[in-house]
């Protein structure tokens, strides 16, 4: 988390080379389903979908963790609750009942996604308001505490499947599209991911983002020039929770299943590792990190059941010998050097 992490994430620091690389990435992502079809590997489309969904969650976490310096070990809470929003809407729809006697069920993606964002944001507002009274290791642990509380709450909620979770028989609907089709669902996720990354890019480059980065570097100094850090941090934490809730809702649709597993602390750890692996505080780092972790896991699992014995040393290598994760490694290798 050096100074250049900021300039890197700062839109005013971009130039032609970077824009070109971004364009290539975007084109590649759009062309991906057709390419894998052409080489006869259609199973890669769901894999890419999973990468995109995790990228949304990791990028949202990165706003709090990388830009704002708030190391949250409890983002699985927002991820899981986003998923449960989809699940509970679906269950209520099937039962033709009312959730809490008020809210009817639905299977429309245009309702469930905003609802997941809203719930994620509200939850982050509540948790953040309390947790931000602490900092450092205490902050890491108290965010974990709240996530664990929610984990055990959903485990004990027998009405929504408890430990076993619940199945969502059909994916949410969107404009009569066949969301069951993997390619269609991939494009939905890609569109959402593009919007999220665009929004995060704008946020990081805005005055709000600048203040946030300033608070991470020196909170006392920001306070001294008349800025109330608490509000900015809480704001960033809420936005971060909203994005993660959104990713959770997409994941529930992707898997057609939600369970307390989505809220488990290992999921928080996984998201954090994607961010660190990709490069803390960088715009596209979380995407690279998510892709690296998901793809490595998939490839290594297909090779050997002892895949963790290979993944572990790889992660260790990345920490010990690259600074700034994959983005830092790319920089050192001269790829995307123009970024600076």
């Amino acid at each position: 988390m050096s100074e250049d992490a900021i300039t890197r994430a700062n839109p005013s620091g971009q130039n032609a080379g970077r824009a070109l690389a971004l364009l290539a990435l975007a084109l590649g992502l759009v062309a991906l389903p057709f390419l894998v079809q052409a080489v006869g590997q259609p199973a890669l489309v769901p894999l890419a979908t999973r990468v995109l969904i995790y990228a949304i969650a990791a990028a949202s976490l990165n706003l709090a963790l990388g830009v704002g310096g708030m190391v949250s070990f409890g983002h699985a809470a927002f991820f899981g609750v986003g998923g449960y929003v989809v699940g509970i809407f679906y269950r209520t729809y099937v039962d033709d009942g009312l959730f809490l006697g008020l809210i009817p069920g639905t299977t429309q993606l245009l309702v469930t996604l905003p609802a997941a964002i809203l719930v994620g944001g509200l939850l982050a507002c509540l948790i953040g308001a309390l947790c931000l009274r602490t900092s450092g290791v205490q902050f890491i642990m108290i965010t974990l505490a709240f996530a664990q509380m929610l984990f055990f709450l959903f485990v004990s909620l027998k009405a929504y499947g408890g430990d076993d979770g619940m199945t969502i028989r059909r994916r949410n609907e969107l404009f009569g599209l066949n969301t069951r089709d993997d390619v269609t669902f991939y494009f939905i996720c890609l569109a959402v991911a593009a919007l999220v990354f665009l929004a995060l890019w704008r946020i990081v480059g805005s005055r709000f983002g600048m203040v946030l980065a300033g608070i991470r570097q020196n909170e006392r100094r920001m306070a001294a020039i008349g800025i109330a850090p608490y509000r900015y941090k809480l704001g960033a934490f809420v936005i971060s929770g909203m994005g993660t809730g959104l990713a959770g809702a997409l994941m529930a649709n992707y898997l057609r299943f939600v369970s307390p597993d989505m809220l488990h602390w290992t999921k928080s750890g996984e998201l954090m590792i994607m961010v660190i692996l990709g490069g803390v505080g960088t715009l596209l780092g979380p995407l690279f990190g998510a892709a690296a972790l998901v793809i490595l896991e998939t490839v290594l699992t297909s090779w050997t059941e002892h895949w963790q014995l290979i993944l572990g040393p790889i992660l260790l290598f990345v920490v010990l010998f690259t600074q700034g994760g994959l983005t830092g490694l790319f920089d050192r290798l001269g790829i995307g050097r123009s970024e600076r």
Binding site: L144, P313, L316
Partner: protein, 304 residues
């Protein structure tokens, strides 16, 4: 009444186990500023080494020695080869590195010992129960754990407060740079502290063997609770770790034992059991949240 006393003893026993882990974790964090997620792996390795030695030799003494040695050596190796390079880095890098270590240790243990949990029997000499009070019988083995934990606590107190090494440890926790500037071989001190923390984790692991199943993943379960203890007690404070561990042990055990019963008086059985189990599991996290909201640095903050 005897039921309550028995649960209190169970809570105490769980508490001292947590203390053994938390003491090492809090020392390592307080002195070296490292978040060591792989501390739970040392606990697991201690348990496996002791279980293996016990199965091979049938000797309690050898099993204890094997468990302690394996954990301490592994801990020191970890410090020398990995963590030493990360002291100057961000906490996040330490988290990623120690997470990688967890993957490596878990998988290595799976390859060597398989996925089936090992069951270790209580040493025959300790396999009885004693009647503490009329109507209250309690397993000798658990009493031994409590005694061992309290003895370690006393020993650590004396070590930290009465010896030269303890003085260096305290000085290191307060002001690292100053100790180095005064000409203390800080690298040796770090490795020694890491080894001590690992030794205590191994002790907890080998004692847990006969009570719990020895299996891969046992380290991560208890690791999270250990972090809760460390944060409640105040990061870097041994005294905090001690009282935090007893508090968490007692609260967790009594909630699990009594909450479903209490809830069953107001709702039907199965629902009460599910909700009670959920609430009981939430209990220590609620405790931690409340403690941190009231005292953001924990109950016994170290460096004030």
């Amino acid at each position: 009444m005897t039921l309550i006393l028995e649960q209190l003893l169970n809570g105490l026993q769980f508490g001292v186990m947590l203390f053994l882990l938390a003491a090492g974790l809090t020392l390592i964090f307080g002195i070296m500023g490292v978040i060591n997620l792989a501390h739970g792996s040392l606990y697991m390795v201690g348990a496996y080494a002791a279980a293996f030695a016990a199965a091979q030799t049938n000797s309690v003494l050898l099993a204890v020695l094997a468990g302690l040695a394996a954990a301490a050596l592994l801990g020191m190796a970890m410090e020398v080869f990995v963590l030493r390079r990360l002291y100057a880095r961000d906490h996040l890098d330490q988290v990623l590195a120690t997470f990688a270590l967890i993957l490596i240790f878990n998988q290595s243990v799976t390859i060597v010992f398989g996925r089936q949990p090992l069951f270790v029997s209580v040493p025959p000499a300790l396999n009885g129960s004693v009647e503490l009070l009329p109507g209250l019988t309690y397993p000798v083995y658990r009493l031994i754990i409590i005694a061992a934990g309290l003895a370690v606590a006393l020993g650590l107190y004396l070590l930290i407060n009465r010896t030269r090494i303890g003085m260096l440890v305290r000085a290191g926790a307060t002001h690292r740079e100053m100790v180095r500037a005064l000409g203390v071989d800080i690298r040796l001190l770090y490795t020694a502290v890491f080894g001590l923390g690992a030794l205590l984790a191994g002790l907890a692991g080998l004692m847990a063997g006969p009570i719990l199943a020895v299996q891969v993943g046992m380290g991560e379960q208890i690791l999270i609770m250990t972090f809760v203890v460390v944060v409640i007690g105040g990061v870097g404070s041994i005294r905090g770790a001690f009282f935090g561990a007893l508090l968490v042990g007692l609260v967790d055990t009594s909630l699990r034992a009594f909450l479903p019963g209490l809830l069953r008086q107001v709702m039907t059985g199965s629902e009460a059991d599910a909700l009670g189990a959920g609430l009981a599991s939430m209990g220590i996290y609620m405790l931690m949240a409340v403690v941190l909201l009231v005292r953001p640095k924990g109950l016994f903050p170290a460096n004030v």
